[in-house]
Symmetry: C2
Subunit: 298 residues, 2 copies
């Protein structure tokens, strides 16, 4: 596995490789788990050369967020990626990514304001900007993102379409712990007790799914049920439970064909998010896609 | 000359050409003049394949600006570009560039607020966004911009550096009419009488240059002299006369080694801009660059 730290070097390798090979890219903030590795495996399966980046992007963290304490373990990450036979590990330096007089930002209007955007001001601008930079450096044909960060995924898809980036975004299913908790580097913040409470987030999503399957189309009713379940968990603070349009992320009152139930909450100092996609039609093509992107198989 | 109207087609041609040829790109809004053609000739000289785009970018015009009346003459432009042996003319359609649910914008903070940014709110966001899109579509190695739109040039240079776009920006000298008026598609708006008044803009710049050469370093003094000259022109309304830093575009009070004198004014309904670079050291390398970028040779 080639380790690259300089932007120019990565760019020049990418330019050469792209001439006759398909480049797959998995951008990460490191502290890798099975969710990340599932993206890496997908890239290995679909492309010729897999590039993984590890970069804890300062501009997507708010002033009171966990940039400083975000978990890092480069040696562990490196050995995990070597086992997956990743071709290039790109670890850019903060000072080269954002020089002192850095000034340029990419925004996806409206979509950045919903859901997590309400409390994490500037977060998705930070995400859209770093992804634009990384795509310009790594020049991938395909880039892999997890459905767990649903709003991020949809913003990146929109960004790529709007700015005519020549990259295909591959959405991959959320990978979960055996009790259903969505994998996240931030799970490491949870105490044993908090960890037990965290499984209720997925239970709330399942509850909403079940109601939907029984025919409930009123978004308020689904939210109410999920809220009831989560409210009973002591020390779990709900930030939002919303049902939104799968593409625009606008809040839905009524679910016609599809919608996403998205949850954000805090357990102690840890902020956790999760989501599930609801679809009315069980047997069409889009459903198969969803089954996949829900990770139902495992 | 190949004419391409679809984004995907342009992108796919660019992807193939880029494998073994150097692509030069001249983005324009059409209604071409000698300024544009000088960029085309520079591209022909420096690259293997020259792509020119013609697109009157709606999002860089304010609601009370001249988007609708901006001069267009595609047949004339096409024949001029054919004479220059341009390889590809890219004419994207507005509806494909900006679909109904278009949401993504690129901003270069601070630099977009100075000079023309004060009155043309959103203009440079529109420029930065369309240039990002066009670069992603045309995939050039080199892109050519005129110094006449100095703020635009510097914002694009910054954008390219900040977002790590793999494009080299080539700044080209302002091309002038025999009486000094900087060439611009908007000059066509001027009546014969207005056209005569317009030459005073360059005269004001020359005045500031002369003072600087005599040793004046106080920016206010240069502005004052230029303002005196322009104030005497009836029907010419000064929007700004500023001396700014060559890179950051911040207003200067004192010119140490270099600065740019920039002028915007209105003559009747026509808004015109021009600028000149001042450098203290006459014989260093950067001066040669300036001599060139001032078009002094002609």
């Amino acid at each position: 596995m080639l380790i690259v730290r300089k932007i120019r070097e990565m760019q020049s390798i990418a330019e050469t490789v792209r001439k006759d090979k398909i480049i797959g890219f998995v951008p990460t903030m490191g502290f890798l788990h099975e969710g990340h590795l599932s993206l890496v495996r997908k890239s290995k399966e679909m492309t010729d050369v897999t590039v993984v980046s590890i970069f804890v992007n300062p501009i997507q963290f708010g002033p009171n967020e966990d940039f400083e304490m975000y978990p890092r373990d480069l040696e562990r990450d490196r050995s995990l990626l070597e086992k997956e036979k990743v071709d290039v590990l790109f670890i850019p330096e903060k000072d080269e990514m954002y020089g002192e007089d850095y000034k340029t930002y990419v925004r996806v209007q409206e979509m950045e304001d919903y859901l997590c955007g309400k409390t994490r001001k500037g977060h998705f601008q930070g995400v859209a900007t770093v992804v634009t930079k990384l795509f310009n450096i790594v020049k991938p044909h395909l880039a892999f993102f997890g459905q767990k960060d649903y709003q991020q995924l949809k913003i990146i898809e929109k960004l790529v379409r709007d700015l005519n980036m020549d990259v295909n975004i591959v959405a991959c299913p959320t990978i979960r712990e055996p009790d259903g908790l969505a994998m996240s580097s931030r799970n490491t913040y949870l105490s044993q007790e908090e960890r037990k409470k965290a499984q209720h987030i997925y239970m709330a999503l399942i509850k909403a799914e079940e109601l939907f399957k029984k025919g409930e189309r009123n978004a308020k009713k689904l939210v109410e049920e999920a809220r009831n379940l989560l409210s009973s968990v002591e020390g779990l603070e709900i930030e939002y439970i919303s049902v939104v349009d799968c593409e625009t992320l606008e809040e839905l009152e009524w679910i016609n064909d599809s919608g996403v139930v998205a949850i954000a909450c805090r357990i102690g100092k840890t902020r956790l998010i999760d989501n599930t996609i609801l679809r009315r039609y069980e047997h069409d093509e889009s459903h198969d896609e969803i089954k996949d992107s829900q990770g139902k198989g495992y």
